[in-house]
Symmetry: C2
Subunit: 138 residues, 2 copies
């Protein structure tokens, strides 16, 4: 799993059009907006679902650590197909993204999961401090 | 070389702080802004400089093709260390990024190269149409 974290002053997105795959989730074409948020652009890679427990544990620990360091108030889980060439099957990717969301909620983190399988318009304002952009491979 | 293209309604950046490497380019901490632009986030990977002719040819062709399809008015070359774990030596990466810039200018493309080796604040507004976000490996 590849992750790009961006600590953002503001993040806004709006689903525009379904990608031509049957697996696109249902979503309202409404704008969602977040302030002082940690946006996590996530590419679930081939084989990640089989390693889900290991990945989930490491990722959640990492998010909690970064949240504390940068003082972000929420997390946005944003599916992103562009960080790797080896994508997991869509249904397994969605299952893993849902598990991440559920785990964050259990930890009391204010979190939101953007829909999978959509072309989305977005605006992001990256803060640009030394921890504002980080990348990881899990 | 890994590239993430984002066709943007607006893109703005401002150098904030030098990353602790000797190779950071000189840059003014002033805001630069672009409209209807194709932002190319670029990670130059180990070994890319040795393959520079091949990479340059393929990348410039690809940019020209996308520019025409999305009707962007300019290109921003934005060094980005987060698309790969295997980074080229900084001086070689800068040389390749400069070659890309020079080649685009020769082709008559309105292009700008953001400085290497800085933490930068940025705002991007991704248009969200089907060709607004594309990724490539060269």
């Amino acid at each position: 799993m590849r992750v790009l974290y961006i600590h953002s002053r503001e993040f806004l997105y709006k689903p525009r059009e379904k990608v031509k795959i049957d697996i696109a989730e249902e979503a309202e074409p409404t704008e969602k907006i977040f302030h002082n948020t940690l946006v996590t652009f996530i590419t679930v890679e081939q084989g990640d679902f089989n390693r889900r427990d290991e990945i989930l544990g490491a990722f959640i620990n990492d998010i909690m650590d970064i949240m504390q360091k940068v003082k972000a108030e929420s997390v946005v889980i944003y599916p992103y197909a562009h960080l790797s060439n080896k994508l997991e099957k869509p249904n397994n990717a969605i299952r893993l993204l849902r598990m991440i969301h559920r785990k964050l909620e259990q930890k009391g983190v204010n979190s939101h999961r953007a829909p999978f399988g959509w072309y989305k318009e977005f605006k992001i304002h990256c803060l640009g401090h030394p921890l504002a952009e980080l990348s990881r491979t899990f």
